[in-house]
């Protein structure tokens, strides 16, 4: 007799508990049907803790280990199979508890094999020496427990009866009901309707849906010409004037595939009422029940079936969107348990009630740090406000507020006003438009947690994937960030480091434009721009229309004290306004990447303690050495070479001093201070990394025109790196600028953010002048014996770092533009600061 395969259905995310006496073939079964990494066996755990898989005295420790690993796997959302006898109820109970703790389904697979068979198999295993009664006892335990497995909490129980059925078994996986990740929308997510059918019809109209009505004129479906679908966050019923009408429409849409719907607590309660359970008929349920009385029995049964069949929440759009009535913490998303359902329907309550007798809800959204956007309802708010990437869409329509929907992924709100107050709320509900009291949630959007920054961090970036921050770098960065940086809500960006061009082999030079041009040519970039490099201090300016903002350094410290900062920003704000940029860009603020001049304004201490000091020492010691050697030479000693070297070094020291002097001039208040902006990083709701540099530099010129004293333009030249004449022109320009100690130039892809052969290309390469580099490599680095060795510099690490920091910087700006919570932006800014403490040759 040949039977077909015996199907064993297992949810994709579950804790599979194999149950069977010793020798029943659990390990063989596990090996055949699951990946080795999915299976945790008590035997191998015994081996791990005691070097002996059969050492029964190690059993408690082995199970502690097994539970620990299983816990870690389940937290990570991985199917886990436990290969142990599990014949005792108490052993199974601890596994069911483990599954529940991680909100996954426990599944039992029983291998029921006759005792004789097990005895025979054990006899074949020389390592196993079981007392004769053991198997009989295990089988007795097993049979005792078999019937109660469902009651024990196993959501699925598969009993495979005998060797033959075990042989035929095929494991198939079942998706979670809530897993609709493949469904990418677009969606229109609708807040709590509460029986407001007229407003719902109006809203669907406003969203572009075409309503379909039955012969009695009742709306029974709506579809969108562009194939959009509605997602209802629950609480369709109660309190309002026409809950049956709302249900009829939504049920029609869901049945036709035009909508999804998750249950609210009111649906939950309605189901229990319809099933005749004893529920308190309050909070508007009385109205729904009365309205349903007017419907026929068939409709009532459909309603009960519909509401009881709703899935607690949905995970949509590749995991980027979660819809649940009362919201859902990240650890519960995509999971299945009573706790998940309770949270999704009722939210997290503290067990207290407020002065209106309503339950006090835990503001879960304020602590939400998940990656998915969560859309929910449940608690009426006057206006929807994003909190940590979550949005409550219940705008209290039934209380006279509005019915609101969010277009996803566009994130546009569409709403219609309630036609009247249908139900008096227990807690006074402020009408929309009136200044909403600052909710706890709103205020906490700017709270940062130390877990956002400390320890080893991995930040996901669009441009460069996962960027890792090492623990020790984070430790240094948190100190600087906490003690010296401007407040995080003002610190929106830290500029990335920039790599120099590859090392030149030209005589007397370390850097030359040719290598920068060659780099971009190799990356397939034809058009580049050469920007004059102002030698000052890198600064980021956040300027608001009202003149507030910050001006900070590469580590986030304010460039000036409060008074001078305010004066500076007021002037800069006027310049931005004067150039018409606020209006033109439709923004109230601009974020500028710039160089602050002179160098001495901010780096004065360093210039004096380091550069001027080196110059002073050199210019004192070397002439004395020259004069002593001249005396010795006059006596006829053989010191000509040595003397010659000291003379050259004297000239080098003068050159060194001349370079830093160029970047120092006295300032008094704002007099003498200038800002040279070269890139507009972001404005309200948008970044500008994909705009060509010509656009940015033209903006800078307009700012310079608006306030020529405070703002300096940046000289630049477009270059075609496939045209030698164009290159030669730029090279001549660079030579002229650097001959007198100018810092040099930066070569950037003309189009700004550019992808090359292997991902994003360097956003810029600096090409520094020969004289300027004395400040970096020492006054006499140009001596041939020094230069030769200095050429052995390796750029790989710097290049990698530059790209990672660039990706992080842009990621932070993009998150800012999307209106993501502060911690998501801060995470990127912090990571840049941490990476800046990476050990990289500082001369690059």
């Amino acid at each position: 007799m040949t039977a077909g395969p015996r199907t064993v259905v297992v949810p994709e995310l579950s804790l599979v508990v194999l149950i069977g006496v010793s020798g029943s073939g659990k390990s063989t079964f596990a090996r055949r049907h699951f990946a080795p990494t999915q299976v945790l066996s008590s035997d191998s755990c015994r081996g791990l803790v005691a070097d002996d898989e059969n050492d029964q005295s190690a059993t408690p420790a082995a199970f502690a280990l097994l539970h620990h690993i299983a816990g870690i796997r389940l937290r990570g959302g991985r199917l886990t199979v436990v290969d142990a006898t599990n014949v005792k109820a108490e052993d199974r109970a601890s596994l069911v508890r483990l599954a529940r703790e991680h909100d996954v389904l426990p599944v039992a697979i029983v291998l029921d094999v006759p005792e004789s068979e097990c005895l025979a198999r054990n006899a074949l295993r020389p390592d196993r020496d079981l007392a004769p009664g053991v198997i009989r006892r295990q089988r007795a335990d097993l049979r005792r427990g078999l019937r109660g497995l469902g009651r024990e909490g196993f959501r699925k129980v598969h009993v495979l009866d005998g060797t033959e059925e075990i042989e035929r078994a095929v494991v198939t996986y079942e998706k979670q009901y809530n897993d609709r990740r493949e469904d990418t929308g677009p969606f229109d997510v609708v807040g709590d309707v509460h029986g407001c059918r007229a407003e719902l019809e109006e809203l669907l109209g406003a969203l572009g849906y075409d309503l379909r009505r039955d012969e009695q004129g009742r709306a029974v479906d709506a579809d969108h010409p562009a194939g959009r679908r509605a997602v209802f966050v629950g609480d369709l019923v109660d309190r309002g004037p026409d809950s049956p009408g709302v249900l009829r429409l939504v049920m029609g849409m869901v049945a036709a595939g035009h909508a999804l719907c998750v249950p609210g607590n009111h649906e939950d309660k309605l189901v229990r009422a319809l099933r005749g359970r004893n529920v308190q008929v309050t909070h508007g349920l009385e109205r729904t029940l009365a309205q349903l009385e007017a419907e026929d029995e068939g409709f009532r049964r459909e309603v009960e079936a519909f509401c009881s069949g709703l899935v607690s929440h949905y995970v949509l759009d590749g995991g980027a969107l979660v819809v649940a009535h009362a919201g859902l913490e990240e650890s519960l998303q995509g999971r299945s348990s009573a706790r998940v359902r309770d949270f999704a329907l009722y939210g997290e309550t503290t067990g207290e009630t407020d002065e209106f007798g309503l339950p006090v809800r835990h503001p879960w959204a304020t602590r939400y740090h998940g990656r998915a956007t969560v859309l929910y309802g449940h608690t009426p708010v006057p206006t929807p406000e994003w909190v940590n990437n979550t949005l409550c869409l219940d705008t209290g329509c039934v209380f006279g507020g509005r019915l609101t929907a969010l277009r996803y992924p566009e994130r546009e709100l569409v709403g219609v006003a309630a036609r009247q107050v249908y139900y008096e709320p227990a807690r006074p509900f402020p009408p929309a438009g009136e200044a909403a009291p600052l909710t706890e949630a709103r205020r906490r959007d700017d709270v940062l947690d130390v877990e956002d920054v400390l320890g080893k961090r991995v930040v996901e970036t669009r441009l460069a994937g996962r960027v890792t921050v090492r623990e020790e770098n984070a430790a240094a960065a948190i100190e600087v960030m906490s003690r010296f940086a401007v407040a995080p809500e003002q610190l929106l960006h830290l500029p990335p480091t920039m790599s120099p061009s590859a090392t030149s082999t030209r005589p007397g030079l370390l850097e030359h434009p040719a290598e920068a041009f060659a780099y971009y040519r190799t990356e397939g970039v034809a058009e580049v721009v050469c920007q004059e490099k102002h030698m000052g201090s890198r600064a980021v300016a956040l300027v608001r229309r009202d003149g507030s903002g910050v001006l900070h350094t590469r580590t986030g410290r304010s460039c000036f004290g409060p008074g001078l900062t305010a004066a500076f920003l007021a002037r800069l704000g006027d310049a931005v306004d004067g150039a018409g940029l606020f209006a033109e860009l439709g923004t109230d603020w601009v974020l500028l990447d710039a160089e602050l001049l002179p160098w001495s304004a901010k780096a004065g201490d360093l210039i004096r303690s380091q550069y001027a000091a080196v110059g002073a020492a050199a210019r004192t010691a070397l002439p004395a050495a020259v004069s002593a050697l001249e005396q010795a030479a006059a006596r006829g000693l053989e010191v000509a070479d040595l003397l010659d070297r000291q003379r050259r070094r004297t000239a080098d020291a003068e050159g060194f001093t001349g370079v830093y002097r160029r970047y120092c001039w006295p300032t008094d208040g704002l007099t003498g201070v200038a800002l040279a902006p070269f890139q507009l990083l972001a404005t309200a709701g948008t970044t500008h990394a994909d705009r060509p540099h010509a656009w940015h530099l033209a903006l800078a010129d307009r700012l310079a025109e608006a306030d020529p004293e405070l703002v300096r333009g940046t000289r630049w030249l477009p270059v075609d790196v496939t045209d030698p004449a164009s290159e030669a022109g730029a090279t001549a320009w660079w030579e002229e600028m650097t001959a007198t100690g100018g810092e040099g130039m930066v070569v950037k892809p003309a189009g700004n953010l550019t992808r090359g052969r292997r991902g994003v290309v360097q956003p810029g390469l600096k090409v520094r002048g020969r004289e300027y580099l004395r400040l970096v490599y020492g006054p006499d680095y140009t001596e041939p014996q020094h230069l030769e060795r200095l050429r052995e510099r390796s750029l790989g690490r710097k290049r990698g770092l530059a790209l990672r920091e660039y990706a992080l910087g842009l990621e932070g700006l993009e998150r800012l533009a999307r209106g993501e919570p502060l911690w998501r932006v801060h995470e990127c800014v912090f990571a840049v600061l941490a990476l800046e403490s990476e050990p990289v040759d500082p001369r690059l």
């Binding site: 956002d452 380091q610 550069y611 001093t657 690490r797």
Partner: protein, 485 residues
């Protein structure tokens, strides 16, 4: 870098015999940092001058110090005064080039070794921390006439003032060996920079070079301390690099364990005060007052937020009523110092189990700090920019929410009573603000109101009828309803 030494002893050319270096030839001595050249700019019967010129290899210098790797070094290691200014490197070259002379050995002129000769020493660019005065202080007691002129930083910017370099001329009648040993010790000591060559045998070297004069030198301790140099903790490097990114000196970002400005000058200045005869430092009075507040609250599990180098943790540990003590600081370096100071690695297990040190920023919420009996913010809030206070307030009173919070902060009104504290100056250079009694009371009341804490205000230290106590203290106690929640 250059040093010259002349004598007018007749015949002056005997100097060559004493130094074992022939005045008729220029000679070279290889040292680890480069090449030392010995030559005689003048050498006749009446005057003989030897010059020691060390040509440092600046690139080799960094490479040897960092085992061939450029990664991780600070920029200052590449562009610095070492190739020019007279410092420890020159001392090493001097020690090697004139080794026998320094030991007082001369084959050709053994009798001259113990004779005090008329000597002149010229160091044109001596790195001298503390300037001309320190040079005098160190060298004059050794029998030198000292002529030291400060070198200006940059004559183009006279407002920048003098550099740390001194043009030094010494004249005196001394044994040559003594003169050389004086220089051997003086160069690194006056320079007072971090040498890369500090090793375990440095103490022996100092004792040998200093025999006969160091023990009686009035500044013996200073000399020893400076000679043995400063060690760089590895932990410091990451912060140094961040300072560099910012064109700032490392000290600007790394002052977590810096003493208060006002305490630096000794017992009569700001952070200390005297009552009738027996001064109790204000810091200890603060410890006492905070301990009293904690005892009165019956606290057992206590967090010291901003514990710094752990002075107060020590006081908490000493009392067994505190069953759990957690020290929190944003500075990893401060925590390292605290761990050393508390000898965490040597505490018996039971004691060790009572204490934990955590790095955390007080403007960030931190789940690890929830649920303690008491939190102490001793002289911490004034180190935060005022616009960060709401974040601190939320993290401490809203998120960590201990039953009791004890806050101390300076009373700025009292500052006028501190001698040696300039008018309008704060007590610590990192203080972002210092509050009057009214300002502190206002802040404390508002915080208590917002987070459901009752507030008691106390003073610590001498209570001046006009300006109050130097330190103000607030005890916040969570109201019963809040506790129940």
């Amino acid at each position: 870098m250059l040093v010259t030494l002349s004598t007018t002893h007749v015949p002056a050319t005997d100097l060559g015999f004493l130094l074992h270096k022939n005045p008729a030839r220029a000679q070279q001595v290889e040292v680890s940092t480069g090449t030392a050249h010995v030559f005689y700019p003048e050498a006749d019967e009446h005057r003989c001058t030897v010059a020691l010129l060390l040509e440092v290899d600046p690139i080799g210098l960094v490479r040897s110090a960092r085992a061939g790797s450029a990664e991780g070094a600070a920029l200052a290691q590449y562009v610095n005064d070492r190739p020019y200014a007279a410092s420890s490197l020159l001392a090493v070259a001097l020690g090697k080039a004139f080794a026998s002379a320094r030991r007082g050995v001369s084959r050709e002129r053994p009798a001259l070794v113990d004779v005090a000769l008329p000597l002149e020493v010229h160091v044109p660019a001596l790195s001298c921390r503390g300037g001309v005065d320190v040079a005098h202080r160190f060298l004059a007691p050794l029998g030198w006439r000292v002529e030291a002129t400060a070198v200006p930083l940059d004559e183009t910017f006279p407002e920048w003032g003098d550099s740390r370099y001194v043009d030094l001329r010494l004249t005196g009648e001394l044994r040559l060996a003594d003169a050389l040993n004086h220089l051997y010790v003086a160069l690194p000591v006056l320079d007072d920079a971090r040498h890369h060559w500090i090793g375990t045998d440095e103490i022996d070297k100092l004792l040998r070079a200093g025999s006969g004069w160091l023990a009686t030198h009035p500044d013996r301790d200073l000399i020893t301390r400076r000679y043995l140099g400063h060690r760089t903790a590895l932990a410091r490097r990451a912060i140094e690099r961040l300072a560099e990114v910012d064109d700032a000196a490392p000290e600007a970002l790394d002052d977590a364990t810096a003493p208060p400005v006002a305490a630096a000058g000794g017992p009569r200045t700001a952070e200390h005060e005297e009552d009738a005869g027996r001064p109790v430092p204000l810091a200890l009075q603060r410890h006492g007052a905070v301990l009293a507040a904690l005892r009165s609250a019956g606290a057992q599990r206590v967090v010291d937020l901003g514990c710094g180098a752990g002075a107060f943790l020590q006081a908490l540990l000493a009392e067994s009523a505190f069953t759990e003590v957690v020290g929190v600081d944003v500075s990893a370096r401060a925590l390292e110092v605290a761990a050393r100071r508390l000898r965490l690695d040597r505490l018996p297990e039971r004691q060790r189990a009572r204490i934990r040190l955590l790095q955390s920023g007080l403007t960030y919420t931190d789940a690890r700090l929830r649920g303690y009996d008491a939190a102490v913010l001793m002289e911490v809030v004034e180190h935060l920019d005022p616009d960060r206070l709401p974040a601190l307030e939320h993290a401490v009173f809203g998120a960590a929410a201990p039953t009791t919070v004890v806050v101390t902060t300076p009373n700025v009104e009292y500052n006028v009573r501190f001698e040696g504290l300039a008018a309008g100056a704060f007590r610590h250079r990192d203080h972002r603000f210092e509050w009057t009694r009214q300002e502190f009371a206002g802040w404390a009341a508002a915080v208590g109101e917002r987070h459901g804490y009752a507030v008691r205000l106390l003073g610590v230290g001498d209570d001046d009828p006009e300006v109050g106590t130097p330190t103000q203290l607030a005890v916040f106690t969570r109201r019963a309803a809040e506790v129940a929640a």
